[in-house]
């Protein structure tokens, strides 16, 4: 999912950076100091998830989990994901430095969208419906992220069109895995610590 430095056109880099700055500013504003540790935990989980590899046939995919992070954090997903991507770029060389803005918005904006789309669904009284919305959130965030990555590439040059399409196809297994994993995680958190996903206990358990 990370795009490296040098691949994208300057206007795309600038637009990505501007959107990330706006998103992070808004996210920081809505996050008070008491929530800092919680946001830090989620940021670290995104980092750790990137080295949990699950087998798919002969190959393997790693988890991204931006859907789950979005469901838990809302707008605070922006600063959380920016920090994790920054640490990955600086200490592991994943992705690039100037492209950080584009990478952050590609991963964080879907997380925020999923928050608004699915947060009602996951607090449904029926576990089945909640799991379905969790799966929609998990798979949906990856779908939107891949489309945004493809768009960032396409806007940088016609020649990237095929690579953009290939990115989408290559991520179909990731979408499926993320859907199932996020659904299971949502089901567990609903039972164990519902307040974490902002789930109204009264609505779930009457």
């Amino acid at each position: 999912m990370h795009i490296v430095d040098g691949a994208l056109a300057v206007p795309v880099l600038a637009a990505g950076a501007a959107m990330t700055v706006a998103g992070v500013a808004w996210g920081l504003k809505r996050m008070d100091y008491d929530h800092l540790p919680q946001v830090g935990v989620l940021s670290a989980v995104f980092f750790i998830a990137s080295y949990i590899h699950l087998p798919i046939g002969f190959s393997s995919v790693h988890l991204i989990l931006n859907g789950l992070i979005g469901l838990a954090l809302g707008w605070a997903a922006f600063p959380a994901l920016l920090v994790a991507l920054f640490l990955q770029a600086v200490f592991f060389g994943f992705g690039g430095f100037l492209v950080l803005g584009v990478n952050a918005v590609n991963i964080a904006l879907p997380a925020v969208l999923v928050y608004y789309l699915c947060r009602h669904g996951i607090s449904s009284p029926s576990p089945k419906i909640a799991a379905t919305w969790g799966a929609i959130g998990g798979a949906g965030s990856i779908i939107i992220t891949t489309i945004m990555v493809a768009f960032s590439l396409m806007l940088s040059g016609e020649a990237f069109l095929l690579a953009a399409k290939a990115t989408f196809v290559a991520h179909i297994p990731v979408m499926i895995v993320e859907g199932f994993v996020t659904a299971a995680a949502v089901l567990l958190i609903r039972k164990v610590k519902p307040e974490f996903l902002g789930i109204d206990e009264e609505r779930v358990y009457g």
Partner: protein, 260 residues
């Protein structure tokens, strides 16, 4: 699946990575962050092969000066290459232009190849400089340097918390995976695996959050008011001025080469 595939070989070791003190480590962390940013701008915005070649060499020199661990650095550079390998291979075939050679009936254009080469050079120059100048700063010091550079307070706090939790959550994850292995759980491509991993992540979050709440309470108990105090006074020393005297003219020349 073999055990070594489960981890990308890049797991977070935080501050525990062995690193010998080098010339680069004598420089002010703030200076290193600023210089790498300027260097990245000079490299990424250029479209000149001479500039990019010099930039890659500069990246190498910085990596040598920082005495980066060869094996670790190579692994990271290769990991980055994996992110763009498809892009690089596809570019010559998808860029319109004069046919350079044909492969399986597909014609590769010279323009596409040059474009791919340009991306390769830029990405490597930036990543080497980044790993050499900033990757060698300990994460805590980096946080303080960013705070001194007027990065918003909350963002720096968040980064410091994240660095702290990476260690904790990484260990918690390994502990829970070991417990699953002890119960003969093997990763496969099926629902059972995905559900179990989902539960694992859910439990990981619950454990970590409860821990973070305890940490927050303990901090409040000791008078935490949403502020860390930056005790380290960062000041530019003689080495920093020497480095600037070398690096700023170099960047100017690098930028100037574009217009020749």
């Amino acid at each position: 699946m073999p055990q070594f595939l489960e981890h990308s070989g890049t797991s977070w070791k935080g501050q525990k990575v062995k690193h010998e003190r080098s010339l680069i480590d004598r420089l002010d962390p703030r200076l290193r962050v600023v210089m790498v940013t300027l260097f990245a701008f000079a490299t990424v915005l250029s479209h000149n092969f001479w500039v990019l070649s010099v930039a890659v060499i500069a990246g190498f020199v910085l990596a040598l000066l920082a005495q980066l661990n060869v094996k670790r650095t190579l692994r990271r550079v290769i990991a980055m290459d994996m992110f763009m390998i498809f892009l690089i291979i596809l570019l010559p075939f998808t860029t319109p232009g004069d046919t350079w050679f044909t492969l399986f009936g597909l014609s590769a254009s010279k323009e596409g190849f040059l474009h791919a080469l340009m991306i390769l050079l830029k990405a490597h120059a930036v990543v080497l400089a980044l790993l050499a100048l900033v990757g060698t700063i300990s994460a805590t010091t980096l946080g303080h340097a960013l705070a001194h550079l007027r990065v918003p307070d909350k963002l720096v706090h968040l980064m410091l918390f994240t660095v702290r939790y990476l260690d904790v959550i990484g260990q918690e994850y390994k502990r829970m995976r070991r417990a699953m292995q002890a119960r003969a759980f093997v990763l496969r491509t099926n629902m059972h695996t995905w559900r179990s991993i989902g539960y694992l992540i859910g439990m990981l979050l619950v454990h970590s959050l409860e821990r973070s709440e305890r940490i927050m309470d303990a901090m409040k108990c000791r008078g935490y008011k949403g502020q860390f105090y930056l005790l380290d006074e960062m000041a530019l020393g003689r080495d920093d001025y020497r480095f600037m005297a070398l690096f700023i003219p170099f960047l100017t020349v690098l930028t100037g080469l574009n217009f020749l």
